[in-house]
């Protein structure tokens, strides 16, 4: 397998493919949901949502059983008194934050997370963050970002969070050697695998962003080359570029092909010879390919339909079609970033039906007409579609499971084959 992605001048795959843009009811999460995994990734950070009871209820419902542990997130619920006047609102926020920091003295980084209500009443959380940072520094740094539904869809909450961190990352030293930064929250096991792989390739130093602790923020500067590990990091990439860092264009590290192309983008940038690249990646590639072959039996030829959810849909569709032989009926994404997705689109089979945005009822009509073998959708749609006789894979799990890299390629495929296998078993 060639580590170089074949991009030809005559726009291969879906680079120029038409995209159905729809407006209407969107059956998606808001960006607040990102808190559910981010608070576990950055272990000494706390996320305080400034919003309504709905916001509190959302995170609590989405957090499911995890709520048995003392969580590192909470909501400052705006009430009627706050709506009466803004000055009072800021005092109230200070009081709530003080109470919180008293209760959780181990917190080093506090995010004030904006919501729809706080955005609509124009509560200035960035000023509040500055004010509170002044009061609680150096023990606690206070930042803010918006996870509101009016501005962010599901995983875009992570984008907003990371983008808010970029301006406070330390600057790398003048004339420092070229460094690689991997951007996007990854499962710890995936992060460790990538770190080992980069080390074997002789690429380094490599820093991961976000880090596991608030005290280990990576430096950034003109010497920084960054690889996006997740497809939903538009604002974070912009912010990093504003600080001089350069993005290495690559498809996303899903499946053998995606991982190889992703790693090779870094290898090229750091002058690793193709021979060395092959030598280092070969064992893992072969291992993954043989594990994938077993999954291919279940998935080959099956027709799959994606409802929009996380922006992972296009890379997943590419992986499922090219490496597992699935047929794509519709690939919906909440938001399509042409530049970041260029390498992915080039690899999609030509003629793939792409949609951006959503009108959920019309999309359900299309889905029912297609009768796909597998539907990737949110939890609000999954059981109702199962009851209609369709087989579904709920999409949120893809964000909560280690799926990137060689060793996870078969696990990722298994997430899609499991519902099909289950349906067969229960019918038998």
């Amino acid at each position: 397998m060639s580590p170089v992605i074949p991009i030809r001048a005559d726009t291969p795959g879906c680079v120029d493919a038409p995209v159905l843009r729809e407006r209407g009811q969107r059956e998606v999460f808001c960006g607040l949901t990102g808190i559910i995994w981010l608070h576990r990734k950055i272990q000494d950070a706390f996320f305080l949502v400034v919003g309504s009871r709905t916001c509190a209820h959302l995170i609590q419902s989405a957090a499911g059983v995890m709520i048995f542990a003392e969580p590192r997130f909470a909501t400052a619920i705006i009430d009627e008194r706050d709506l009466a006047g803004l000055a009072d609102c800021n005092e109230e926020l200070d009081r709530v934050v003080s109470r919180l920091i008293e209760r959780r003295p181990e917190i080093k980084l506090l995010f004030l997370v904006g919501s729809c209500p706080s955005e609509v009443i124009k509560l200035d959380l960035s000023r509040a963050a500055q004010r509170l940072s002044g009061r609680f520094s150096p023990e606690v740094r206070v930042l803010n970002y918006s996870g509101s539904g009016i501005e962010t869809t599901f995983t875009q909450g992570e984008d907003a969070c990371l983008a808010s961190l970029v301006p406070v990352l330390p600057a790398s030293a003048q004339g420092a050697p070229t460094e690689l930064m991997v951007v996007g929250a990854l499962a710890d096991v995936v992060e460790d695998q990538f770190a080992r792989m980069f080390q074997q390739l002789g690429i380094g130093p490599v820093r991961f962003f976000p880090p596991r602790r608030a005290t280990q923020m990576p430096a950034v500067g003109p010497n920084t080359r960054f690889l996006l590990a997740q497809p939903f990091l538009a604002d974070t990439a912009l912010a990093l570029e504003a600080r001089g860092a350069q993005r290495l264009p690559a498809p996303f590290p899903l499946g053998v092909e995606g991982t190889t192309a992703w790693l090779s983008a870094a290898a090229r940038a750091f002058g690793v010879s193709p021979a060395k690249f092959d030598a280092v990646t070969q064992p893992a590639r072969e291992r993954a390919a043989s594990a994938l072959a077993r999954q291919r039996v279940q998935l080959e030829g099956k027709r799959i339909f994606f409802f929009p959810d996380s922006q992972l849909e296009i890379p997943l569709a590419r992986f499922l079609s090219r490496e597992l032989g699935m047929q794509l009926t519709e690939v919906g994404t909440p938001y399509l970033h042409r530049t970041h997705m260029a390498e992915e689109l080039a690899l999609l089979p030509a003629g793939t039906f792409l949609s951006e945005g959503q009108h959920v009822d019309k999309q359900l009509d299309r889905c029912r007409a297609e009768r796909p073998d597998l539907v990737v959708c949110g939890l609000g749609l999954a059981n109702p579609l199962e009851a209609e006789g369709m087989t579904t894979k709920w999409a949120i799990e893809l964000v909560f499971t280690p799926i990137q890299g060689y060793e996870q390629a078969a696990d990722l495929a298994e997430l899609f084959s499991r519902p099909l296998v289950r349906r067969m078993r229960l019918a038998a």
């Binding site: 509190a56 400052a76 619920i77 706050d82 709530v96 729809c116 009016i150 939890l379 609000g380």
Partner: protein, 515 residues
């Protein structure tokens, strides 16, 4: 602003969704930002509904705020009507839409739809889920009940007819409670006119007047509507909620009086094992177990009565997050000589439980977190609950079978009698030691040190310290009463002005408090 780790209730529009989802042929158009569709999964995942809730959201985004969000709402409402063809519509705002003030009711009037449209005014920054459900149900009943349909005075020998009010979507055990109570009413020879909101269509609501009386199962949801029905149709409502054997008997008596039937046979046949189970000697060790009760008002009042009079527990504390029913809960608390905690602040509830050091907590999903943190056994008696409390098996809380379910559920988390005795006698066993979880729950591992209850020491411990001998002796007290013993000893030492707690102090305190 209120710092909220966990919220006992959702926003009021979730209450409205619970009514819409419970009913048939109704559609709810909710003006809400993108993301508020998370509420769908409460129904599709927690309650495992096989269909989408009948709710259309406008899901506006930031770019829409610059434009015409009112038009967006009108388009969504018209489209929803055409697609779903409901017999009645509900329209309203979520918390964010409330701020932009588009007036869904007025906008929908302009659409001039050929079905009744119920406009909901649910103040999201003041009220919560149960209030939203109650208000929605009231508005639906008020606008859809046909004043012409009125029950004629009953002739002698004619069977009585009632409505059952309250069961809704996402209600704690509503499905099985309804089955249990419907069976009970049938056994009593009473006909059921309409059950609402669960399973009712707008045309069913129109027939509400054609009943002799109303059975109110969940006052949090149905009491406002029932009050209106009393005023409009002269229908009396039941006041007893049939949770527990005693309450079920009272309920039967109340219903029998309203219906003019003889309940003797039903009472004699009752499939009530719980009273005998509680009388049997195996239950003697349950006597005076100290229990803390928290949840919605209805379930708390019922649980406290069962705990005190049917299980022989001592109610050491009770409270509710249902502010609308604070008076009822305060009255109940007086029966047990305790102060009611009326709060929706999770941290306040946690502090109260830590202070009281009960041996059993009866609460909601939230109290399970607290109890786990403090290492106290716990059973769930009230919403909010999670997916495991929407079980596949028949598990009512109401009626005689409900009492049977409650007996099993509440006793289960407690250490069984023999184990409790043996742990009181022998210590240092590697497997069955005093800090281990009850062995019938599979727990032989010592809980994490953080789970050992100690916070109670904070209030009293400032001026007293524990002698080494006394501290050792304290460790010999089984874990589920140790927190109480520690607290009492410290109180005693403080009252007597003793700076150091010795072995003597420990036993003096024990004798002092055992009076």
């Amino acid at each position: 602003m209120q710092l909220t780790l966990w919220t006992y209730e959702g926003p009021p529009h979730v209450g409205a969704m619970r009514i819409a989802t419970a009913m048939k042929d109704v559609h709810y158009v909710l003006h809400a930002p993108q993301g508020d569709t998370y509420a769908d999964l409460l129904f599709t995942m927690i309650e495992r509904d096989a269909k989408r809730p009948p709710v259309t959201y406008t899901t506006f985004q930031a770019r829409d705020l610059g434009g015409d969000t009112a038009q967006l709402f009108k388009d969504a409402a018209r489209e929803a009507f055409e697609r779903f063809n409901p017999k009645a519509m509900m329209v309203g705002s979520s918390c964010t839409a409330e701020l932009i003030q588009d007036d869904p009711g007025g906008l929908c009037k302009a659409l001039d739809l050929p079905v009744p449209v119920v406009a909901l005014e649910l103040p999201s920054y003041q009220r919560k889920e149960n209030w939203g459900a109650a208000e929605t149900f009231y508005q639906m009943v008020r606008q859809l009940a046909d004043p012409q349909v009125k029950r004629a005075p009953r002739e002698s020998g004619q069977r009585a007819r009632c409505n059952i009010l309250g069961p809704a979507a996402l209600g704690f055990r509503h499905r099985d409670d309804l089955r249990e109570i419907s069976g009970l009413l049938r056994d009593l020879g009473i006909d059921i006119n309409v059950t609402a909101p669960l399973g009712a269509s707008p045309s069913d609501l129109a027939r509400l007047g054609d009943a002799d009386f109303n059975v109110v199962l969940y006052p949090e949801i149905a009491s406002i509507a029932a009050g209106w029905l009393t005023r409009t149709f002269g229908q009396p409502s039941t006041r007893t909620v049939p949770i527990g054997s005693g309450a079920t008997r009272d309920f039967i008596a109340e219903v029998a009086a309203l219906a003019g039937v003889d309940a003797t046979a039903v009472l004699a046949d009752a499939n009530a094992r719980a009273p005998w189970y509680a009388k049997s000697v195996d239950s003697t060790y349950l006597t005076s177990k100290r229990v803390f009760v928290f949840g919605d008002a209805t379930h708390v009042v019922a649980a406290a009565r069962i705990a005190a009079t049917e299980m022989g527990f001592t109610v050491v504390g009770l409270g509710t997050y249902s502010r609308e029913f604070a008076r009822e809960v305060r009255d109940a608390a007086k029966l047990y000589g305790v102060d009611a905690l009326v709060s929706d602040d999770y941290l306040e509830v946690e502090a109260r439980i830590a202070e009281l050091q009960p041996e059993l907590v009866l609460g909601s999903q939230m109290e399970r977190h607290i109890a786990k943190r403090l290492g106290i056994p716990c059973a769930v008696i009230s919403a909010p609950v999670h997916v495991q409390d929407f079980p596949a098996r028949y598990s009512p809380q109401m009626g005689f079978e409900g009492a049977n379910v409650l007996f099993d559920t509440w006793v289960h988390p407690l250490m069984m009698g023999l184990e409790e005795h043996l742990i009181g006698m022998f210590r240092g066993d590697a497997e069955f030691h005093e800090d281990a979880a009850p062995s019938h729950l599979g727990g032989s591992h010592k809980p994490a040190p953080a789970a050992t209850p100690q916070p109670a020491a904070v209030s009293a411990a400032a001026e007293t310290t524990w002698g080494i001998e006394a501290e050792k002796e304290l460790r010999k007290i089984p874990f589920f009463v140790r927190g109480k013993a520690r607290r009492n000893t410290e109180l005693y030492a403080r009252d007597k002005g003793l700076p150091v707690i010795t072995l003597e102090t420990l036993y003096d305190a024990k004798a002092h408090f055992s009076r």
